[in-house]
């Protein structure tokens, strides 16, 4: 039968054409010529419509087998060409991996924000709530409620900015102790981060505006031993090393007993160096057991409750953590400084 011979011819020719294809475009043209919508085999299948049913089935089967055969040949050739192209490309193209990378532009959080978050995270994990209070304060909350009477030399411990509207800029975050205890009954555990202001000349270790964190824990039997445990845990987590600390007697009108908290010098590890004035220790916080008068002034009955409070300057801890040598950098707005964080 003529159709059988022509099928054989088509097959041979097609195989030859596929083999000759030099690139993907040529190969695609060959594909179209045989298997495309107007391709030879497609047309052949269409022409079978007129044949009797039996014959149609027989020839149709042969044509479809051929189609399958050719498809496999095409795929094989196509893969061959692609591999060849890829191989050539791999020989030619290269990337100079020493060209500096292009960084996506990211912003920066202020180091005090980073430190503050760390402090909050550590204390929140120990059940402390973050509380806040106003920066513009009354003399009552800043002094009197904290057992610092008017015309008392203890007021000289805090050089104060007074405002013409009759208030003052808080000199510490301690006023929030009284404000919080007025509104919340013990047991309570809070930390109070916030800005405080001191009327004093600035140098590399003194600022007139500072960021302080206050802590307060009040319950039935809260002791100095508990203060040591909590503050020790805080130092270890904040500095991410086993920091030693100690309590020394100090004086604050709103705590009794009062302590100065020092940590072993982070520069020399306690051996003594210029950074710690050769003492091996660095003062970082003040603390003490809440004075009964503070409870009284906050509307609590002193004998019912006991607790401790502490306060530290966040700048100082941040300076120790990141080895920053000038406190004035924090509010300098210097991007060369800020972009390092």
């Amino acid at each position: 039968m003529a159709s059988k011979i022509s099928l054989n011819l088509i097959k041979k020719q097609a195989q030859k054409d596929i083999e000759k294809g030099r690139d993907l475009k040529e190969l695609n043209d060959v594909f179209k010529r045989y298997l495309g919508k107007q391709g030879q085999l497609t047309l052949l299948l269409h022409s079978l419509e007129k044949l009797p049913k039996e014959k149609k089935a027989k020839v149709g089967k042969t044509v479809n087998e051929l189609k399958g055969l050719l498809k496999i040949a095409f795929d094989k050739k196509s893969l061959e060409i692609k591999q060849k192209i890829q191989k050539e490309a791999e020989e030619k193209e290269w990337i100079d991996v020493t060209i500096p990378g292009k960084k996506p532009v990211f912003g920066h959080l202020h180091p005090l924000t980073l430190a503050r978050r760390k402090v909050e995270e550590i204390f929140q994990a120990m059940g402390f709530t973050v509380a806040e209070g106003p920066e513009m304060e009354t003399a009552w909350y800043n002094f009197d409620a904290l057992n610092i009477p008017k015309d008392h030399p203890a007021r000289d411990m805090w050089d104060t900015f007074w405002l013409k509207n009759g208030s003052l800029l808080r000199t510490h975050t301690s006023p929030v102790q009284a404000r919080y205890m007025e509104k919340n009954n013990p047991p309570l555990r809070i930390i109070v981060p916030g800005s405080v202001f001191r009327h004093e000349a600035t140098d590399s270790s003194h600022e007139f505006q500072l960021f302080q964190v206050e802590g307060l824990m009040v319950d039935k039997t809260i002791s100095v031993a508990n203060l040591k445990a909590v503050i020790g845990e805080f130092f270890r987590r904040f500095f991410e090393k086993d920091v030693k600390f100690r309590l020394k007697p100090d004086y604050f009108p709103f705590t009794e007993p009062s302590f100065d908290i020092g940590i072993s010098c982070l520069v020399c590890g306690g051996k003594g160096c210029p950074a710690c004035k050769r003492t091996g220790w660095m003062e970082v916080a003040g603390a003490g057991m809440v004075h009964p008068n503070v409870f009284k002034n906050s509307g609590l009955i002193p004998r019912d409750w006991q607790g401790w409070a502490f306060g530290f300057g966040l700048e100082r801890l941040t300076m120790l953590k990141y080895k920053i040598d000038d406190i004035r950098l924090f509010r300098s707005g210097d991007l060369k400084f800020l972009k390092q964080f």
Binding site: V105, F106, G107, H108, L109, H110, T113, G127, F128, T129, V130, E132, P134, E135, M136, H152, P153, A154, D156, F161, L163, K164, S167, L169, P187, R189, S195, F197, H199, F208, Q209, F211, T221, I222, S223, V224, A225, K228, A229, V230, G232, R246, L247, K248, P249, D250, Y251, E256, P257, S258, F259, M289, F330, R331, S332, G333, D334, L335, L338, K339
Partner: protein, 648 residues
């Protein structure tokens, strides 16, 4: 470690001086060498020697006959003690005395004055010496000054007094400001023969007030304003008279003149040892507690097994409640011996502080958008106030500013942000910074604001940043209104006219956005163009919401058609967008402005806007016929405007 810090040790010849930081609570007993010796003796379990004050009195003359003392106000002067020494010869002090004074920072003057100062250093009791012959009527009267009275002090300064200032007067006039400084009139000189040595106790607050008012601070006023034990005067007077006799010769008249109407006795405090244990977190045995207190001069008595009755020496003005005694026991026992014990407490979860939560969220978003956070001072000066159009009556002024630069509390974050730019713009091509902090307005408003700035940035970009920020805070209904300032509105001065907008959420204005006026940049010597935003953070955090609802993604394909339209230049994009949405209704998922063009090829006063319109239905695949029909409606609707022309 258990008492006070030695700040500095200095070698002085064969001896040493220690510079110690004594806390104000211990001023009453430790602003003196004797006090420190007492403390060290207690700490090291040593004995200390009290300086010699054994007088040989001259029985022939009685002090009371040589000088009369009257205290008018007993509350202001609880005790006035004096010794009288006759037949003295004033000269220079011996070398040892002069050296000791100099090493403590005092200037030697003459033997009598030097002795008074020296005994003050020794005992903590300030003393003053008068030349008795220069006192009118040989009288000493402690009283408040009369208005318009004056005094010339030893150093030649003249002060006007008033009735709040306590003075020592003779028969006629003030001869010393009580507890602060002596007057010139009864000054000791080389001819002085008879002296009155004053050793008195004055009420702390009165000395402090006068010292502030007259702006005189002395070694005496420092000690008096902290409070001194009234029982100290006697010993100090005797010790001084003893030294005068030894060094300047003379005879000590018989008897101490002493006006002490209300004797102050020791205070007794009950100490519950269980309470001490509860507060310190460590048990200190009764024996040890009592030993510690007794070594410090307290007297103890056990009332029962748990309660001590403790009598505090009168010099310890700082000790009045059980906690004060617990501090003494704790510090001497050693705070280092107290263990670290975690509190046993009910498990109360920490409350979430929403204010802090939104602050953190906003800071993180702006950081991710490439902004650097800055902290500025909460102050600004007159210059900024004027430049940024803040009226004086809106501002809170600082009574005692550090400098004119910090005269007011800042009423806005913008001035300090721009000052930061001024510091940085030479080093960076683009500056993107923000600050979240308090601003202050008269009479007593304090609230948080959020402000940010891009130097060398476009309005549209900053607006996009705000859009992103507000979207992340769960805020819908965000829109931007052209800002039309009222004539008296001060804000108009800082923005570039017609290049600023109000940021609104629903009907509430929460802040501003725009380009800063070049006038201001020129004034601050900033080169470039700055776009800024300023948002009321209290309003923002109130409106923000963590709730976020998932919107189902349509399973059906979307199709994009473009529209380009030529409109007059003053037409706003929002007008065109509204029209597109009006006719597109629910089938439009999004409209995206991808080009704005104003150029030579276009008719004058026209601009070309080009949009991608994205069509999608939630329930079916849209046929191209349906999309064509909607697109046709949109075009028709747009072209109803007389000068609008859709380009085909």
């Amino acid at each position: 470690m258990r008492f006070a810090e030695v700040e500095e040790i200095k070698k002085e010849g064969k001896d040493f001086t220690l510079n110690m930081d004594i806390k104000p609570s211990r001023a009453s007993d430790c602003f003196s060498h004797l006090g420190i010796a007492r403390e060290i003796a207690a700490l090291l379990n040593l004995k200390y020697a009290v300086p010699d004050a054994k007088l040989v009195e001259n029985k022939k003359t009685k002090s009371k006959e040589l000088v009369s003392i009257e205290v008018k106000n007993k509350a202001a002067c609880p005790r006035y003690t004096a010794r009288v020494v006759t037949d003295i010869k004033v000269g220079s002090s011996p070398k040892w005395l002069r050296e000791r004074l100099v090493s403590c920072g005092l200037r030697p003057i003459n033997s009598v004055v030097d002795i008074a100062n020296y005994v003050m250093l020794e005992t903590g009791q300030p003393l003053h010496a008068f030349d008795a012959d220069k006192l009118e009527g040989r009288k000493i009267i402690v009283r408040f000054a009369k208005d318009r009275e004056k005094i010339i002090t030893l150093d030649g300064q003249k002060f006007d007094l008033d009735s709040s200032v306590l003075v020592i007067a003779d028969g006629k006039k003030p001869v010393a400001i009580a507890g602060i400084k002596g007057g010139k009139l009864p000054e000791i000189d080389r001819k002085t023969k008879v002296i009155v040595l004053e050793s008195a106790n004055f009420y702390p607050q009165i000395v402090r007030k006068s010292s502030r008012k007259l702006n005189i601070r002395t070694d005496a006023s420092l000690r008096f304003e902290h409070g001194i034990d009234p029982n100290l005067t006697e010993f100090a007077a005797d010790r001084a008279a003893f030294l005068v006799q030894k060094i300047a010769g003379g005879k000590v008249a018989q008897g101490l003149v002493d006006v002490y109407p209300k004797r102050i006795g020791p205070r007794t405090i009950k100490l519950d040892l269980d309470f001490a244990e509860r507060l310190l977190g460590i048990k200190i045995p009764e024996r040890e507690a009592r030993n510690i207190l007794e070594s410090l001069g307290f007297k103890t008595k056990a009332l029962n097994q748990k309660i001590l009755s403790v009598e505090a020496p009168t010099r310890r003005l700082d000790v009045s409640i059980p906690e004060d005694l617990i501090e003494e026991i704790g510090r001497i026992h050693g705070y280092d011996k107290i263990p670290s014990l975690f509190p046993v407490s009910s498990l109360i979860p920490a409350k979430k502080n929403l204010k802090v939560f939104w602050e953190n969220m906003v800071k993180d978003i702006l950081k991710e958008a490439g902004f650097a956070e800055v902290y500025s001072y909460s102050f600004f000066g007159k210059k900024e106030a004027t430049l940024f159009g803040h009226k004086e009556k809106e501002l809170i002024e600082v009574e005692n500013p550090l400098s004119q630069e910090y005269r007011y509390l800042r009423a806005s974050l913008i001035p300090n942000l721009l000052k930061n730019v001024e510091k940085n713009f030479r080093d960076f091509q683009q500056i993107k910074i923000f600050e979240l902090g308090k601003v202050f307005r008269s009479p007593s408003l304090e609230k948080r604001h959020l402000a940010g700035l891009i130097l060398g940035g476009e309005f549209q970009y900053l607006k996009g940043t705000i859009d992103l920020l507000l979207e992340k805070l769960g805020l819908n209904e965000v829109w931007y209104d052209e800002y039309r300032p009222t004539p008296e509105d001060s804000k108009q001065f800082i923005w570039y006219p017609k290049k600023c907008a109000e940021i609104k959420i629903g009907s509430e204005e929460i802040g501003f956005l725009g380009e800063i006026s070049p006038k201001i940049l020129d004034n601050l010597a900033i080169k470039g163009k700055a776009v800024l935003f300023d948002i009321d953070f209290e309003k923002l955090s109130e409106l923000s919401s963590e709730e976020h609802e998932y919107r189902p993604v349509s399973r059906f394909p979307s199709a994009t058609r473009d529209i380009a339209i030529l409109v007059p230049r003053d037409v706003k994009v929002a007008q065109v967008l509204n029209k597109i949405h009006d006719s597109g209704k629910k089938l439009i998922r999004d409209v995206d402005l991808f080009d704005i063009y104003e150029g030579e090829e276009l008719p004058q006063d026209k601009k070309n806007l080009a949009f991608h319109i994205i069509y999608q239905a939630e329930d079916r695949t849209l046929s191209s016929e349906e999309i064509d029909r909607v697109q046709g409606d949109i075009i028709k609707n747009l072209e109803e405007e007389p000068e609008w022309q859709v380009r085909k």
